[in-house]
Structures are given as structure tokens and as C-alpha cells.
């Protein structure tokens, strides 16, 4: 974790990297599920799982931004010695958000490619 906030270019590069990783998961999962179910079932399940990761990431990121300082204050107040920080939470949910986005998008593209 650096002290200065990351530049826009850094953010875009990192978002792109995690989107690509998510897309790889989305395609791999869609194809793997073809073994046990129909093309629609496989791509729908892969898409729903990707959307779940995306939704959780966005929701938790927004919560960390909105309530992060409050949670840190409560943590200090009740004297809980955890290493949780708002910046760390934002970083983690940034990764989840872009992975989920890539995953869901790739599942949708796979569905189109399979003619679903």
C-alpha cells in the first residue's frame, strides 16, 4: 500500500488486468459447465456467479467508502486490534468488482458465441 493515491493510469491498468483475469474465469467456467448442462444453463450459471461477484464488489466498495471512517472509529472506540483499514477494503473490493465485471461479460460473450 503506497501513501500517495494511485494515478488514473494505474487504476485503469489494474482494472484492465483484473477484468481480463475475470474474463478468463468466466469463459473457463462456461465451457466447463457445458459438460453437465445445456449451453444456456452453463452460460447463465457462469453469468450469475460473475454478477454475484460484481454486485458484492460494488456494494462492499461503496460501503467501505461511505462507512469506512465510521467503522474505523467504532473499531478504535471498542478497542478492537484488527488490521482492517478503509484503503485496504477499497483495494480488495476494487479487485472483486473488476474480476466480477470481466467474468460476467465473458459469460455473456460466450453465450452469444454458443448461439444461446
Amino acid at each position: 500500500m503506497t501513501d500517495s493515491p494511485p494515478s488514473l493510469r494505474d487504476l485503469v491498468v489494474r482494472a484492465g488486468r483484473w477484468t481480463l483475469r475475470g474474463a478468463a474465469v468466466g469463459v473457463a467456467l462456461s465451457l466447463a459447465l457445458l459438460v453437465v448442462t445445456s449451453p444456456k444453463g452453463a452460460t447463465d450459471t457462469a453469468f450469475a456467479l460473475g454478477a454475484l461477484v460484481l454486485g458484492f464488489g460494488v456494494f462492499a466498495w461503496a460501503t467501505a467508502v461511505g462507512l469506512g471512517e465510521t467503522l474505523r472509529g467504532v473499531q478504535e472506540y471498542v478497542d478492537v486490534g484488527s488490521a482492517w483499514t478503509e484503503a485496504g477494503a477499497r483495494e480488495a473490493f476494487f479487485v472483486l468488482t473488476w474480476t466480477g465485471a470481466g467474468w460476467a461479460f465473458a459469460a455473456a460473450v460466450t453465450a452469444v458465441a454458443l448461439g444461446v
Partner: protein, 337 residues
């Protein structure tokens, strides 16, 4: 004074929160077992009819298309029509009918918690390590430990079955007919000028409020006690006392405002638990709020109702936390920085 920029920034966060919640709910509903088409058509319906229903609802489209359609509808606040609960009725209308019931219950539960929790917490702190303090702490610990699904039926047994002084369920006696103006039963009975109906509504609400309020009261009194004890030891409190200010005035004027800040934070964070408690309370006391609506909608695979109800819960939670932040920044202006 709270700046507009601060409030606008917090309101803007509603957009990603709602997008995230909508996406999670959509994904979970489509991953969970249960077919709304079968629920609508009936278990004995022919496969052809079930397929027809599925096509009519757009459930045969690829999931990503359904998702984009759903996001478009949410963006325009169009939650569609109920599949099962009130078939064909717009979900927004169902929510408008039920939402005031839950809000009334949650607000009264919170008020009951504050009304009893704050004085008990202050009393416990001021009389630290006395019998009063010990009794209050035992009461608070019990209140936090008792789950609603246990305390609810227990209170029904005691006050309705054995003592017979309070009703077991519903919102108002069957002899009273009140037109819903605001949807808040206590307000509506007062607006109608019907005092017997008001008394009946109040008696019906008493047990659910107590059940919801017990947990809030316990939590608030515990937080208030520890916060107040910390504030009482501060130098400025000692200075106020040394200047000859009475103990009560020092505690209420200088202590309460500072001790209240962490309590306010907890109230906001705990509002989610209060809403969850409202779902359980409504189920136990057969109150037709959005809590029971959500449970029925999940059981009947009524996707539009589930999605809209969860989104309403998310909006309520976010707005309450915004209100908490605004109150927080009024009490401690440094928070805006």
C-alpha cells in the same frame, strides 16, 4: 452546519450501493432453486403451459439480457408486476401499501430503544459499580442475548394467553375500520378522530414494539454507559465540576453531547439489524409489512417483489446512515473534514 457537498457526496454513494444490491439479489435469485413459471402455472400444469409462462415472463432469454432489462427497469423505478403475491399488481403499489407498516414498527422500536436505553445507560455510568449499575448491565446483556423469535412468542404467551391483556397479532381490532391515509395506523386513527381505534391499534403495536425495542435498548444502554464513563473522566468534566457546576448539569450539558457520538454511530450501523428484526417481528405477530411480504415472495419465487423489497431495505438503510452521518457531523463538525 452540514455542508451541501457532504450530503451530496453521501447521496451519490446510493447509486453504487443500489447497483450492487440489485445485482447481488438478481444473481442469488437466479442461482437459487425454484422456478417462478412452475409456481405461477401450478405443479400440475402441462410442460407446454409452463414453457408458455416462461416465454411470457422473458425467462427463456439469456440471463445477461434479463439482467440488462432488469437494470433498465430499476433505473426507471419500474419494478414490474407481482408474479404470485398479488398477481398482476404493480410491485410499487404493493410496496407503497406495506412500507408504512414496517417503517412505523421500526421507528417505534427504535424510539422505544432510545427512550429507555439512553437514561439507563447514563444512570448506569453515573452510578458505576453500584447495585443499579449491575442490574442495568445484567438487563442489557439479557436484552442483547435474547433472539426475537424466542422473546416474541414468549411475550405472546404471557400477555395474550395467560394474562389476556394484549392481543396476539394484527394491527387493529376487527371491530374498527380505518381508511388508510398515511398508512401509519396510529396516525390514521388519530386523523379519523377515533380514540377507541387508536387505543386498539396501540395495544396491538405494544408487544411488537417491546420485542423490537428490547434489543435496541440493551445495545444503546451498554454503549451509552461505556461512552459516558469515558467522558466523565475527561479533564473538561473535572474542570466544570471544579468551577462549582452541579453534577447533573455537568453530566447533561457537557457529558451527554460527547458521549452521544459513538452511540449515534451504533444506532446507524444497527439499523440493518433493526430491519432484520422487523422481518422476524412481523412474521411472529402476523403484521403485513414488507418483512412478511419478503418472506412470502421468497417462498413463492416472486422475483420482482423480492428484488424490489430488498432494494427498498437497502435504500432505507443507506438513508438512515446518511441521517446518522449528518447528525454526527452536527455533534462533531470535524467529521466532515
Amino acid at each position: 452546519m452540514v455542508s451541501k457537498r457532504f450530503v451530496a457526496k453521501r447521496l451519490l454513494l446510493l447509486v453504487p450501493v443500489l447497483f450492487g444490491v440489485a445485482t447481488v439479489v438478481f444473481a442469488i435469485l437466479h442461482l437459487s432453486p425454484g422456478d417462478p413459471a412452475v409456481a405461477i402455472a401450478g405443479q400440475r400444469a402441462s410442460q407446454a403451459f409452463v414453457e408458455q409462462v416462461r416465454t411470457d415472463l422473458g425467462l427463456n432469454d439469456p440471463l445477461w439480457q434479463q439482467y440488462l432489462r432488469f437494470l433498465g427497469d430499476v433505473a426507471t423505478f419500474d419494478f414490474g408486476q407481482s408474479y404470485q403475491i398479488q398477481r398482476g399488481t404493480p410491485v410499487s403499489q404493493i410496496l407503497a401499501d406495506r412500507l408504512p407498516i414496517t417503517i412505523e414498527l421500526a421507528v417505534l422500536g427504535q424510539l422505544a430503544g432510545l427512550l429507555f436505553g439512553l437514561p439507563l445507560g447514563i444512570l448506569s455510568a453515573v452510578k458505576q459499580d453500584t447495585l443499579t449499575d449491575h442490574l442495568t448491565r445484567i438487563g442489557a446483556l439479557s436484552g442483547i442475548s435474547i433472539p426475537i423469535y424466542w422473546s416474541g412468542p414468549l411475550l405472546i404467551l404471557l400477555f395474550a394467553q395467560f394474562l389476556g391483556i394484549l392481543p396476539t397479532s394484527g394491527r387493529i381490532g376487527s371491530a374498527h375500520f380505518i381508511d388508510a391515509v398515511t398508512g401509519f395506523i396510529l396516525v390514521d386513527t388519530l386523523l379519523a378522530g377515533d380514540l377507541p381505534a387508536f387505543r386498539s391499534a396501540f395495544r396491538h403495536l405494544l408487544l411488537p414494539i417491546v420485542v423490537l425495542g428490547i434489543y435496541q435498548m440493551a445495545l444503546i444502554s451498554r454503549m451509552m454507559r461505556s461512552s459516558m464513563i469515558e467522558v466523565i473522566r475527561q479533564d473538561y468534566m473535572r474542570t466544570a465540576r471544579a468551577k462549582g457546576q452541579g453534577e447533573k448539569i455537568t453530566t447533561m450539558k457537557h457529558g451527554l453531547r460527547n458521549a452521544f457520538i459513538p452511540v449515534i454511530t451504533i444506532i446507524g450501523i444497527q439499523f440493518g439489524a433493526l430491519l432484520g428484526g422487523a422481518v422476524l417481528t412481523e412474521t411472529v405477530f402476523e403484521i403485513n409489512g414488507i418483512g412478511t411480504l419478503l418472506v412470502s415472495a421468497i417462498n413463492q419465487s416472486d422475483y420482482p417483489v423480492v428484488q424490489a423489497t430488498v432494494l427498498v431495505f437497502a435504500v432505507m438503510y443507506t438513508l438512515v446512515n446518511l441521517l446518522v452521518d449528518v447528525t454526527y457531523s452536527v455533534l462533531d463538525p470535524r467529521i466532515e473534514q
